[in-house]
Assembly symmetry: C2
Homo-oligomer: 168 residues x 2
């Protein structure tokens, strides 16, 4: 007997948002993976962040999505100091490019897999930084909104990376 | 008698996506509106697109969303030649900054208003560039996906504009 898969509107809507996250993440992956270790040392524009810093920054921001989305504990909190709390070149690089690339891939892979398990009702659940009381007043502050905000954050930095890559 | 407003999961999901579009658009507005006519002539990085070109480019790309989303005819097709088909500085600027700013605001205002009228089922309808047959195979190619793609496109260029603004 042929198995019939029924997809509800809710599921289609959430699937479309998850697909947008995967699409932009795939572009970022492609950009980062095509760079040589030397190119990672280039700034996106004169005097601006190096590509290496952006890789670290995005790894940290995505790692922080685990607790923010109430999907578990984060993996590499020790990187915050280097890629979130301090600006580029303020501290020595804590990891080599190949190791940082592995962190980036691990974080995104585990995160995307966890997002794929969410039901529509879970997508509409509150994120960690809002109280039940405030969430009752503004149900738009849900997991879906966080993932779209992070997708746009990633696009924001992809735009900057595109400038550096054409220059290098 | 108190009026009770029931919001379904579908509506909340679509509302969250529309809110993400409005949020990023609001940031773009704020960036563009804070620039002087002189600053619009600056490139986002040495040798790259001027802010004026990005304003024109984003206006054109958003204007093209009317037919793409099957929401009506577009307003300024004559701008494509300058801001989509040719690169920056290839042709003389067709409009002054103040007039282009008005076009930008008109397009976004009408577009966002039209998006606000869509029902969840309409959000999940196909976009113009896909046939009914292909859409049946891939229902992810819907209006919602287009709006998220354009929101990310806007964020991509916002990231570039942020570099120019700090420099200028």
């Amino acid at each position: 007997m042929r198995k019939q898969v029924l997809v509800t509107n809710d599921e289609l809507l959430c699937g479309t948002v998850l697909n947008s996250w995967k699409l932009v993440l795939g572009r970022a992956d492609q950009s980062f993976m095509s760079l040589t270790d030397e190119q990672f040392q280039q700034p996106v524009a004169p005097g601006k962040n190096r590509l290496l810093y952006l890789l670290g920054h995005l790894t940290v921001v995505h790692d922080r999505m685990f607790p923010l989305l109430r999907l578990g504990t984060r993996k590499y909190p020790e990187l915050d100091e280097y890629y979130l709390e301090h600006s580029d070149r303020a501290l020595p690089d804590p990891l080599s490019v190949p190791v940082l690339k592995i962190r980036w891939t691990e974080v995104n892979s585990e995160l995307t897999s966890a997002l794929g398990q969410l039901t529509p009702t879970e997508w509409l659940g509150r994120h960690q930084d809002i109280s039940d009381e405030d969430f009752a007043k503004d149900p738009g502050r849900n997991r879906l909104a966080v993932v779209m905000a992070r997708t746009n954050h990633l696009s924001f930095h992809l735009g900057q990376m595109a400038l550096a890559k054409r220059a290098g």
